[in-house]
């Protein structure tokens, strides 16, 4: 049985608990992507991030993405969690965990899920820079 889950959270992410829930006895591979606030972007020093979301649509859209990606690969579970609010340097903003019998489809599914969430999910990121520069909302406008 495949299973797909997505939720937002307000505090620190726990990727390990997703991994424990992801694995089935027929799975030989668990691939995890954790996105972390880093201290730079396009050559500028970043001191922090904050996320907000159009939550209802984002949940529906991400679950649709997981079902589509899961339908295209021999994977078991795809579990995703995204943090909202401020995320300090070094803390996780997203965790994507995919379990599968074999590792190839697990890698492919994690990459596709990440690429599509970035392009399609209405989640907004504000970057705070060092040196007194104005904070900026970053990213690209999605297409129909």
């Amino acid at each position: 049985m495949q299973r797909f889950e997505f939720s937002f959270c307000d505090g620190p992410l726990d990727a390990r608990s997703l991994e424990v829930r992801a694995r089935r006895d027929e799975d030989g591979a668990v691939v995890t992507f954790v996105g972390v606030t880093r201290n730079h972007h396009d050559g500028r020093s970043v001191v922090g991030l904050a996320y907000e979301a159009y939550e209802a649509m984002a949940v529906a859209r991400v679950l649709a993405i997981l079902a589509e990606v899961g339908g295209g690969h021999d994977v078991g579970r795809i579990l995703v969690e995204h943090r909202l609010g401020e995320v300090p340097i070094g803390e996780a903003s997203i965790a994507v965990v995919v379990s599968a019998p074999h590792r190839g489809p697990a890698f492919d599914a994690v990459r596709e899920v990440m690429d599509r969430i970035k392009r399609e999910a209405p989640i907004f990121k504000k970057e705070f820079f060092g040196g007194g520069e104005d904070a900026e909302w970053v990213g690209e406008v999605p297409r129909v």
Partner: protein
Amino acid sequence: MRVHVLLFASLREIAGDSQVEFELGAGATAVAVREELAARWPATRQVPYIVAVNQDYATDEHELSDGDEVALVPAISGG
């Protein structure tokens, strides 16, 4: 007709609110929401965004109905 407009990120900051109600003429399309937004908050003209009607991304030609939820979605960057 009346539509419920949701604002995010820089649009929310410019408007100073995360939701507003717009009164539009019959047969209005999403472009009418853009015009009303720009009229109320001219600074939003600088912000590229796409509309989502009832949680689906839509073109500016999308015809609106009374009671629609119209979200204005600027640059996204989840993950």
